[in-house]
């Protein structure tokens, strides 16, 4: 069986073929390749580190236990993002997490946790210009992403953070290509509006 170093030079399809042949190192290679993008996607969907880790674990277990049903004509990354996105969306629906909520993560138990996970720019009218200046643009964007509808969020994350093509996103999220483009357009429009508002 190949070593971890051998596996690094192989494509996803080749690693999947080895995993289906029972190579544990191939399973680990798939986890190594996708743990960060999958975790990042889920984390930005649910905004809770521990919950995101549990969900990412569930997504990987689902993927790796169902490798036999993976169809080689599709990109492996599309498949894994599809499952990760479904896991996150299911969780959001199950817990009825209001993604526009400004009350912090639903998993927050103490007052500190609620404050730590709550969106800071809660009241646009009261947000002082100084606050924006003090913040990193990235932090502002993270907050803006958290305000987007989940389907917009998945699209914009896959497109602009993970660098996936429109076609791959459509495949991963089971959406028509036109819908993906519309979602991304609207998401960028909302992010723009948010930033513009912060800038005053």
């Amino acid at each position: 069986m190949p070593t971890a170093k051998d596996l690094q030079s192989l494509s996803d399809q080749e690693v999947v073929a080895l995993a289906r042949a029972g190579a544990e190192s191939a399973y680990r290679e798939l986890v190594r390749r996708y743990e960060r993008p999958v975790f990042s996607l889920i984390y930005r969907m649910v905004r809770d580190h521990a919950l995101a880790e549990d969900l990412a674990q569930d997504a990987f277990v689902k993927v790796l236990n169902a490798l036999d049903s993976y169809r080689a004509e599709y990109k492996f990354s599309s498949w894994i993002f599809k499952i990760a996105n479904n896991v996150a969306i299911d969780q959001l629906r199950r817990r009825e997490l209001d993604t526009l909520s400004l009350d912090g993560s639903p998993d927050a138990r103490t007052q500190e946790q609620i404050e730590a996970t709550a969106l800071q720019a809660t009241d646009r009218a009261e947000t002082p210009l100084a606050e924006l200046e003090a913040r990193e643009l990235g932090a502002a964007i993270e907050e803006a992403i958290a305000k987007l509808r989940p389907e917009y969020r998945s699209c914009i994350m896959l497109r602009h953070v993970e660098g996936r093509s429109y076609e791959e996103i459509a495949e991963a999220l089971d959406l028509p290509l036109g819908t993906v483009k519309t979602y991304i357009h609207r998401a960028r429009h909302e992010l723009r509006e948010y930033l513009a508002h912060l800038r005053g």
């Binding site: 073929a17 029972g22 986890v31 880790e53 674990q57 169809r71 602009h160 953070v161 513009a196």
Partner: protein
């Protein structure tokens, strides 16, 4: 209006730039181990062993070694076989002629046996008395057509390009 468009374009560029610079988050240490603890690895079975052999052969180095071994074996075999053939040409010609004679004799004998059976068993009379007109003729034609179509479908199914999980991994050598 133009001012607004410029401002939007500038903001859009800022948004895209900021998105592309967002850090990727990582799970805590030992994430892979926790995942692997819940994953069921395929148990050894003929299918898994076949896939294992296929996956092994699909790796560039192994594929190259297999191809080289095959080519070397073919060359070595030819190195022995060709001189032997050249040295035994008359004998080979005689053997081929003898084998062809035996084969044609056996075929002739088979045909004669079949003809005798048809004559003696009365099958020829039955075929002659069979009336293939009207409905019976169409029935026979339909049955034959359906039979051919069924065989063609079966053959197509058998020879079709494998899809899905049976698609071999294509490796650039």
């Amino acid at each position: 209006m133009i001012h607004k468009q410029l401002r939007d374009a500038e903001l859009d560029a800022t948004v895209v730039r900021a998105l592309s610079r967002l850090p990727s988050h990582a799970p805590t240490r030992g994430f892979a181990d926790r995942v692997m603890a819940r994953v069921q690895l395929p148990q050894p079975s003929p299918v898994v062993l076949y896939r294992r052999a296929r996956a092994w052969a699909a790796q560039p180095r192994h594929a190259l070694a297999l191809a080289s071994g095959y080519a070397a074996a073919a060359l070595i075999a030819m190195a022995f076989v060709v001189p032997w053939l050249l040295a035994h040409l008359p004998a080979i010609g005689f053997t081929a002629e003898w084998a062809a004679g035996r084969a044609s004799g056996a075929a002739r004998q088979g045909l004669l046996t079949l003809a005798q059976w048809v004559t003696s068993s009365g099958a020829a009379d039955r075929f002659q008395s069979l009336s293939l007109s009207g409905g019976r003729l169409w029935l026979a034609i339909s049955a034959l057509t359906l039979g051919y179509a069924g065989c063609a479908a079966g053959l197509h199914y058998f020879l079709r390009t494998p899809r899905g999980k049976d698609v071999p991994v294509q490796l650039p050598l």
